[in-house]
């Protein structure tokens, strides 16, 4: 057993502040990058340090803190540890640590939250140092055993050799002795040059594929516990509304039904012996809602609210250089446009669910979570059981995309229901309809843009004014300072390094105007780089066409001071055959943008049929994410970002009527299927001088590249999404 430190008091506030970590800072209370403990791990091997456990048979257990939701971080983190550890990759087995373990050991594994494309880039340093420290200790243990200088030893694939005496041993044989040694100072460790990597940086197979092929993988929705009951839940369909009453008598006597539970002020749940019986009974339960003020809202009223923001006074964040309005007013040529994008749902394939077992002195949850520490905190808060008596069991997620991060609303619901059944496991599953009705949606916005070109067709003035809902206003109001909310300007920022606009414009005014609604909003794969990348790059395309210049050359002329942006754009253009002939009827588009510390660009080849049907034939995406850890998994993320991005661009929207969502399943919330999948080519151009994200960066160029190709095909810009409502011919 892992040594547990019990009775540790951590205030919930401290814990959540640390674990939500929207700012990307390392968690509070996490001092050492890794800690050392002589405890023997659950797996029965020797814990050389918190990240590395080695069994006598040379199996190496690599501890993983971040969530795995398909993005491949589990394998990538193991590659980074093993690169420095120099054990045999074939003998590696990952172990997912729980937030209870992390809490009990003073957060030795650091931040567990998995969002913002941070899984690799904010862990890489301390996991590599942990691997290196373990290697140093294992070699030291062998040197002491053989009484030879450690410098005379070499190691390959976990086999230690002393050439002079022709002796060999293995990590498994010296691990117990190594675990007793004093760990080296992490700062003293010299990490390998990434260009010499042999495990990291290579297209190794994922460690977690096998059980996804035969039905044996257990997601949270599959958890089975002795005596378990199931719950179906329905929250007020209008946001901000409340549960007024329900008529339990109408479902009494239905098979399997145990209880009807009021869940906080807004929801009702039916608990039964199976989920289908619970769900059927809930469907039959007469419920009255107090729908509240939100019930008068509709897509039309929300659109009018946003539109007003486009011309109102003032703003909630701005980036200013020169005098954009004057430059545009005096320009030889003016271009103006208004763009818009809708609310979008995450629609993870595994619907929201949580299984809890709560008694007076213990609470447990099994939940798909991008932030297991937030799950633990939510469980503790809703159950009233102290944090150190709670545990959130690790399961991998059936998709995440930003939905399963800090909010953990479903854990709170399950805990309220579970408290009614002390000691009895309760599995709460949302129907797909509930999942679409109670998301934290990608924010809706409209964006008015104007630009001025000089006589030579150069962009001399640019005014961007985006009016829309703020994620921070809903989830993290303290991040809004003095009424300014810079997060909504993501991708347009001047500061280098994270999401910087890659164009020099002599006069620019980029504004965000906050227009909130009653609809909950939150991060959605790529977050604000989605809308902002589409608005900027589709409008730059309009400017390029107005200038009469080539779309690529028009951009390049503004990018001399942005060499990394430019290099990625050039890579996409070259591999995407920019300027080369295309089959008749096929047209090309291009876009570049930055997010999550990485640089992305794309080309798209598209045809539009005489009846206006769009076919995307091929996309080439270039990415500089600094370092490449798992090239094949990066390609998978790029391919996935095309699907997630184009599903939204072609079909995605969550219309609002009478204050509630009306698109509640995949029959109306259409998504892309295999027949629409273009050929996707991923071009990695790492520069090895920074660490950028992977899961999210490329999505922001997918939509504008395709829309710009449609613009090329039809001669008209696409200014409003989804495309299904746009008449192209």
């Amino acid at each position: 057993m892992t040594k547990m430190i019990s009775g540790k008091k951590v205030s919930r506030r401290t814990f959540v502040v640390g674990s939500v970590a929207a700012s990307g800072g390392l968690a509070l209370g996490f001092n050492a990058p890794f800690g050392f403990d002589e405890a023997v791990a659950q797996s029965g091997g020797a814990e050389v340090n918190a990240w590395v456990v080695i069994r006598p048979n040379d199996t190496v257990v690599i501890r993983i803190a971040r969530s795995e939701m398909g993005q491949g971080t589990l394998t990538g983190l193991a590659q980074l540890v093993v690169e420095e550890l120099e054990c045999d990759w074939k003998k590696v087995t990952p172990e997912r640590i729980t937030p209870g373990m992390n809490l009990a050991r003073k957060r030795v594994w650091g931040d567990m939250s998995t969002g913002g494309s941070r899984g690799i880039r904010t862990s890489e340093d301390y996991v590599r140092r942990a691997g290196a420290a373990a290697r140093i200790m294992l070699l030291q243990a062998a040197a002491e055993q053989w009484k030879v200088p450690v410098g005379e030893l070499t190691v390959l694939n976990g086999v230690i050799t002393h050439a002079a005496s022709r002796r060999t041993t293995s990590y498994g044989k010296v691990a117990a002795a190594a675990a007793k040694l004093t760990a080296p100072d992490p700062k003293s460790i010299k990490l390998k040059d990434p260009k010499s990597w042999t495990i990291a940086g290579k297209p190794l197979k994922r460690l977690d594929t096998a059980d996804k092929l035969n039905g044996s993988k257990v997601y949270a929705i599959d958890v089975k516990l002795p005596g378990m009951l199931c719950a179906a839940v329905k929250d007020c369909p209008v946001y901000g509304g409340k549960l007024k009453s329900y008529d339990e008598s109408k479902i009494s006597g239905r098979p399997g039904v145990k209880k009807v539970v009021r869940v906080k002020d807004t929801a009702v749940a039916v608990v039964a012996d199976t989920w289908w019986r619970a769900k059927s009974a809930l469907d039959a339960l007469p419920i009255e809602w107090d729908e509240g003020a939100g019930a008068t809202a509709s897509s039309a009223t929300i659109a009018a609210h946003l539109k007003e923001g486009l011309t109102a006074d003032g703003n909630n964040g701005e980036i200013v250089k020169g005098d954009a309005k004057a430059a545009i007013a005096g320009a030889a040529k003016k271009i103006e446009a208004v763009y818009s994008t809708p609310f979008l749902a995450h629609a993870c394939m595994e619907p929201m669910n949580a299984t809890v077992r709560i008694s007076a002195d213990k609470a447990e949850v099994w939940v798909p979570s991008q932030n297991f520490e937030a799950s633990l905190a939510s469980l503790s808060e809703a159950s009233g059981v102290p944090l150190d008596k709670c545990e959130a069991h690790r399961v991998d997620l059936g998709g995440g995309f930003g939905r399963r991060g800090g909010t953990q609303d479903y854990v709170q619901q399950a805990a309220v229901i579970g408290k009614e059944f002390p000691g009895v496991p309760i599995k709460m599953i949302w129907s797909r309809e509930e999942d679409f009705a109670h998301d934290f949606y990608r924010p809706i916005s409209q964006c008015a843009m104007s630009a001025g070109l000089d006589e030579q067709g150069n962009l001399v003035g640019l005014h961007v004014r985006s009016s829309g809902q703020s994620i921070n206003a809903w989830l993290n109001p303290s991040a809004i300072r003095g009424g300014k909310d810079a997060r909504q300007l993501q991708g347009w920022w001047e500061e280098p390094g994270d999401a910087q606009l890659g164009y020099d414009v002599p006069n620019k005014l980029i504004e965000y105007v906050m227009r909130n609604t009653h609809v909950p909003v939150g991060p959605w794969r790529g977050v604000n780089t989605n809308q902002n990348g589409y608005y900027m790059e589709a409008f730059i395309e309009e400017c390029a066409r107005a200038s009469g210049k080539d779309s690529l050359e028009f951009r390049r002329a503004m990018m001399k001071n942005f060499p990394k942006h430019l290099a990625v754009l050039n890579a996409a253009a070259e591999k995407g055959d920019w300027g080369k002939p295309l089959p008749q009827g096929v047209h090309r588009g291009i876009a570049q943008f930055m997010g999550y510390g990485s640089y992305s660009a794309a080309t798209a080849e598209v045809s539009v049929s005489p009846d206006g049907k769009v076919k995307v034939h091929r996309m080439v995406l270039a990415l500089n994410c600094g370092h490449v850890v798992s090239p094949d998994q990066i390609a998978a993320q790029v391919e996935g970002s095309v699907v997630y991005g184009l599903s939204a661009a072609f079909y995605g929207e969550c219309p609002v009527e009478k204050g509630r969502m009306t698109s509640l399943n995949f029959d109306t919330y259409q998504v892309m299927r295999i027949a629409e999948m273009p050929k996707v080519e991923t071009v990695l151009v790492p520069t090895f001088d920074f660490w950028g994200g992977v899961g999210e960066p490329t999505i922001c160029v997918v939509t504008p590249a395709v829309m710009n190709a449609i613009h090329a095909a039809t001669g008209k810009p696409v200014r409003s999404l989804p495309l299904k409502h746009v008449k192209l011919v």
């Binding site: 939701m69 398909g70 993005q71 491949g72 297209p203 197979k205 994922r206 977690d208 594929t209 096998a210 996804k212 092929l213 035969n214 039905g215 044996s216 993988k217 257990v218 997601y219 929705i221 599959d222 089975k224 199931c230 098979p255 199976t274 989920w275 289908w276 019986r277 629609a347 394939m349 595994e350 619907p351 991998d396 997620l397 059936g398 998709g399 995440g400 599953i429 129907s431 797909r432 094949d632 998994q633 998978a636 391919e639 996935g640 970002s641 095309v642 699907v643 997630y644 599903s647 399943n665 995949f666 029959d667 998504v671 892309m672 299927r673 295999i674 027949a675 999948m677 050929k679 996707v680």
Partner: protein
């Protein structure tokens, strides 16, 4: 009460006749590889084979299934994940989150049974299951690989030997 033949075994279950087969498979029978994704036959995560045909089990009432109907779920597809489709999925690291992949594999197996050498158009027509992670490109390559359509998937296979 219903009698079902699932993966070659007879199962008697106590359940209302209007219960979807999906939930009987998951809750009464206890095989959870078959997934709930939409409940309205849109996403295909619940795909199983009934007498060799791929069907969306969320939209079939258990009362409409005969005791003689042969139901095969992902768990019954092969011993040791040895079906050529499963092998191709492994070789190309198709899954990301994996949640939809039981259904994708069942759809691919059914396609290859009818059309051993499918074209891209055949795949487009038969493989309508939703994957939100976006594994479609690899699914297409893996179907071709399982079919032995060598050259179509050669690029990708070579890259990851």
């Amino acid at each position: 009460m219903a009698r079902l033949n699932i993966n070659g075994r007879t199962r008697d279950v106590q359940v209302e006749a209007d219960t979807p087969l999906l939930w009987v498979i998951r809750e009464q029978v206890g095989l959870t590889g078959t997934k709930y994704g939409c409940g309205v036959a849109q996403c295909g995560a619940c795909s199983v084979h009934i007498n060799g045909e791929v069907m969306r089990s969320c939209s079939i009432r258990v009362g409409d299934v005969k005791a003689t109907d042969k139901i095969v779920t992902i768990e019954g597809l092969s011993a040791n994940s040895s079906h050529p489709v499963q092998k191709a999925w492994l070789a190309l690291d198709v899954p990301q989150c994996g949640y939809c992949q039981s259904g994708q594999i069942m759809a691919a197996v059914a396609l290859l049974k009818k059309t051993p050498k499918p074209t891209d158009a055949d795949i487009d027509a038969a493989m309508t299951n939703i994957c939100r992670c976006g594994t479609y490109q690899r699914i297409r390559a893996a179907v071709h690989m399982a079919a032995g359509n060598g050259s179509r998937s050669a690029d990708r296979a070579d890259r990851r030997s």
